[in-house]
Amino acid sequence: MTTRTILRIATAAVALTLVLGACAGGDRPSTAGDDSDDAPPAAAGSPAPSGPAALVARSDTDLAVFARPGDPTPAQTLPATTEFGSARALLVDAEDGDWLRVLLPTRPNGSTGWVRRGDVELRHVDEALEVDLSARTLRLLVDGRVVVTTPVAIGTADNPTPTGRFYVVDKLATGDPDHAYGPIAFGLSGHSLELNEFAGGDGQIGIHGTNDPDTIGQAVSHGCVRVGNDVILQLADLVPLGTPVVIG
């Protein structure tokens, strides 16, 4: 072995040492500007990428609703409260400058109108309810995380629970845990497609408790979604007016 060869070997050994040192340095804390590799992994239960929280427009006065942004005359005026006395809350569907498109709690399902931004107070809602008619389950999500999953009763084949995107319009206390709707009933913005009138109402669908818990999990209602009384009480503590409800 020549001296030159030995020198090459020794040089390679030193270079390898330096490389090892650099690799070990890879486990060291990052410095500002190179933290991209050190971003923490997404934690289990991270919010689903379902977009921002829902916006809800609230008004404590009669609210003018327009057919189009900029219309000089409102198409209708919504009272400050619902027929049951709930505060007025409308789910915002889109924005256009100083105008907000809102889902209306009127027939046909999916109706929209425009309100002036200055006429309402905007709030964001992190909660969302999802009803799976096939699985006959209801889920409450908060910030995209499922916090409640429960079996439900749904409409019959003759009076099916309508599908679509709705929201909570009313939160009513029946005052009687043995009431047919249990202690709490949520009124939704949607209506039955089969029943234009029911028990003096206009066929508005709801989510409520029941005095017949054996029906939970079955298709037995006139379109409402029934849950256990313990569940509806839990939901009442978590769900604000305007909470989106997707039924599908």
């Binding site: 030193v14 060291r28 500007g33 905007l122 964001h124 009076n159 009513l172 206390a173 003096g200 604000p240």
Partner: protein, 116 residues
């Protein structure tokens, strides 16, 4: 192997130097990574990393030092620089469009007539 004295001396010197570099490299490799960034990261965003330390030397050797600095000049950061004192205001996407959360409304006493 027949080596002349100069070559032997050079080889020994390089071997010693290499060993001196390997030891700290192995030590670093065996050191578990801390939970958060330290050192220079604190300069950019003091709230992201572990708290600054009392001893400037600890910034390098003890990244988990949780105690705030007694001396603003300690370490590489200034612990008296409150990150909430008008800094970047958080996520720039928050903007001014962020609305306050909705309160959970109390139920209204009523007799519902939904499609039970």
């Amino acid at each position: 192997m027949n080596l002349n004295p100069g070559t032997r001396t050079l080889l020994v010197a390089l071997t010693v130097a290499g060993s001196a570099l390997v030891a700290p490299a192995v030590a670093l490799a065996e050191t578990p990574a801390p939970d958060g960034p330290i050192g220079p990261v604190d300069v950019a965003n003091p709230i992201d990393g572990p708290g600054p330390c009392d001893d400037p030397g600890d910034c390098v050797t003890n990244p988990t030092e949780p105690e705030p600095c007694d001396d603003p000049g300690d370490c590489l950061t200034n612990p008296t620089d409150d990150p909430d004192d008008g800094g970047d205001g958080g996520d720039p996407d928050d903007g001014t469009d962020v609305q306050p959360p909705a309160d959970v409304d109390e139920p209204v006493l009523a007799d519902p007539n939904f499609t039970g």
